[in-house]
């Protein structure tokens, strides 16, 4: 050992701080690469920020949607947006006077700078009462309580009035997003009729979209370890019911400490045909059929053996997605999407090739095994993404979406990118036809 320490000292003294000549373009190459690294980092940050923003918008949008007063059982039912100019010139005068007569002072405020809410009874449509704020459901409840207005008092079966109220309701829904304006709310007990009327009017605007697209994973998987690996997750077990006896022997041999193993899962590739239906303003539900191809390989080797496993699995899946149009820039729509996908393999092939020598180096062996495989359980996943859609000609649009999916552990026998990576980023492009 002392000799070895001497050797260490000699060599370290000789080469420890020995400077070697540098490549002439060394720094230039590094500088270029650093620029690319910075650009990639920026892209990654933007992507994370964009995804987070989309998820936040979706979450807030969903909460807002779930708490929409129109979905609650309220004794009211039409809303109209009146512009501040209009309300100042006409409505306000009536409101102030009427408010003094009918409403308690504590809830009566003039609409000056902040958006205001006007209330009308359906049996006297021209009467409008100003109350404050935009939280119409709460205010209406309070107002009805304070004034003792029971739905039974407000029966009005006049079709023309109902049509008018329905029309007001429809207009208010179309402009409800513009909360800077004041609102006119009409109280009525004929909720169902008004909703039916409104649904009828809105049905004319609802459309279907047929989408044909392809999806490529932005993620692949690669792992290199010294322990032996296999695509059959249970095949190293003595009780394995899937591995053949010979393959077990081969793999058992590769457990030697000098083993080197590499597992690779290629990026998934998908094709899909889906149909989307608009269910509310900016919100649509999408479903259909998708085909996905997954391929994986594992190489195990040591001094004696080389074993290569390859696996190809074809899946069919049914996606269900909610798409929400966030905003439009001229003709470009930006939308966010969340949903789930259930997939089941329809065909799979597992191929194993092994070559090697016996331990005494006196003989060699080759083995090839090809089997048809099937995953036991369907694969479930959830996904989210941010997409763009741009019209090409007439009703035909080009769309692209970047997103990510989380794959739940399906407990299947054959490892895939779904089981090993869990979160897979993807890029989805295609065309959509609205009709």
């Amino acid at each position: 050992m002392n000799r070895n320490n001497d050797i260490r000292s000699d060599f370290r003294a000789k080469l420890g701080d020995y400077p070697s000549p540098l490549p002439p373009d060394g720094w230039k190459r590094i500088e270029q690469s650093m620029r690319q690294v910075a650009a990639r980092r920026m892209m990654r940050r933007r992507w994370v920020a964009g995804t987070a923003a989309a998820m936040l918008i979706l979450l807030v949008g969903s909460l807002f949607f779930l708490h929409d007063p129109m979905t609650h059982e309220q004794p009211m039912l039409t809303e109209e947006v009146i512009s501040p100019m209009k309300s100042q010139s006409h409505s306000l005068q009536i409101d102030e006077q009427a408010t003094a007569n009918r409403l308690p002072q504590s809830v009566t405020h003039p609409a000056v700078a902040t958006p205001a809410l006007y209330v009308t009874l359906n049996h006297s449509v021209d009467e409008k009462y100003l109350i404050q704020g935009n939280r119409s459901a709460e205010i209406m409840q309070q107002w009805i309580r304070q004034n003792g207005v029971a739905p039974e008092r407000l029966v009005n079966r006049d079709r023309s009035v109902m049509d008018r109220l329905g029309s007001l309701a429809e207009r208010s829904w179309k402009s409800i997003s513009n909360h800077d304006d004041d609102e006119l709310i009409t109280v009525d007990d004929r909720d169902e009729e008004l909703f039916a009327y409104r649904s009828m009017v809105r049905a004319e605007d609802e459309h279907m979209t047929l989408m044909l697209g392809g999806k490529g994973g932005l993620s692949s998987f690669r792992q290199t370890v010294n322990a032996p690996m296999t695509l059959r997750s249970a095949s190293l077990s003595a009780q394995d019911q899937y591995g053949t006896e010979s393959s077990k022997n081969l793999l058992t041999t590769t457990r030697a400490v000098d083993n080197l193993s590499e597992m690779e899962h290629d990026q998934p590739v998908s094709l899909g045909l889906t149909l989307s239906k608009s269910i509310f303003d900016n919100l649509s539900i999408e479903s259909g059929l998708t085909y996905t191809y997954l391929s994986s390989r594992v190489r195990n080797a040591n001094a004696n053996f080389r074993v290569q496993e390859t696996q190809k699995i074809h899946y069919l899946g049914i996606p269900v997605n909610l798409n929400y149009t966030l905003f439009s820039l001229r003709r470009l729509d930006v939308y966010a999407s969340v949903g789930g996908l259930i997939e089941k393999d329809i065909y799979g092939e597992y191929r194993k090739m092994g070559t090697g020598e016996t331990l005494d180096f006196n003989s060699s062996a080759e083995e090839e095994e090809v089997t048809t495989i099937s995953q036991r359980n369907p694969q479930l996943s959830v996904n989210a993404g941010l997409g763009l859609s741009y019209p090409l000609i007439q009703n035909l649009k080009l769309y692209g979406k970047v997103g990510g999916a989380y794959y739940f552990d399906a407990g299947n026998e054959y490892k895939t990118i779904y089981s090993d990576r869990k979160i897979v980023m993807d890029l989805n492009v295609g065309i959509r036809y609205e009709f």
């Binding site: 060599f11 080469l15 540098l22 060394g26 590094i30 400490v257 000098d258 080197l260 080797a301």
Partner: protein
């Protein structure tokens, strides 16, 4: 600008500071890369990739311990990653065939006298070793790892590490003898 100021500036991704750091440490790190590579092109790639890693991960350097030691570890780790990749590429057989030699008693007392041999020659001798021998020799001599640690790092057994080190020493000994004989004969001729 001393190292600590340089590191702070590099953490802020200051390009000028990165250049100064490169110029200060790249020559020695190039020697590290050359020690682990037969081909100069490979060493250049290691140097490039190593500095990219240094500049992107310099935020993780906490100032504990020597900065040069931290740099050196990055380059050695990179060289080992490259070695593993090469092993896979070569389908393991040639390299592993040599590694899988039977365990043998390895004498520890063979001297290696490099005192009169120029540095370039010593570096070239190491680079000429087969990849497995070269890697074990470098890890044992320059990184001062034990055979147990080398075995864990390379996924081989301890005996294989000892064996390869012994073989590396034997090869170096032959080269040293050849160089010294050559020098002696030239000296005698001049005389």
């Amino acid at each position: 600008m001393d190292d600590s100021q340089l590191i702070i500036a590099c953490k802020k991704q200051d390009r000028n500071a990165q250049r100064v750091l490169y110029e200060r440490y790249a020559p020695v790190m190039m020697t590290v890369c050359l020690r682990y590579s037969k081909e100069e092109e490979t060493a250049r790639d290691l140097l490039h990739d190593g500095f990219i890693r240094v500049f992107t991960q310099i935020g993780s350097f906490r100032g504990k311990g020597s900065f040069e030691g931290w740099l050196r570890r990055i380059f050695v780790n990179l060289a080992l990653e490259n070695y593993r990749k090469e092993k896979l590429k070569n389908r393991f057989l040639e390299e592993y065939g040599m590694q899988h030699t039977r365990e043998q008693e390895v004498p520890d007392d063979d001297p290696l006298d490099i005192g009169d041999i120029p540095r370039e020659e010593v570096l070239d001798m190491i680079r000429d070793l087969p990849p497995g021998y070269r890697t074990v020799f470098n890890l044992f001599i320059f990184e001062e790892l034990s055979h147990r640690e080398i075995a864990d790092l390379l996924g081989i057994n301890e005996a294989a590490s000892r064996s390869q080190f012994y073989r590396a020493k034997s090869l170096l000994q032959k080269k040293i003898s050849a160089i010294l004989n050559h020098c002696n004969s030239r000296y005698n001729e001049q005389k």
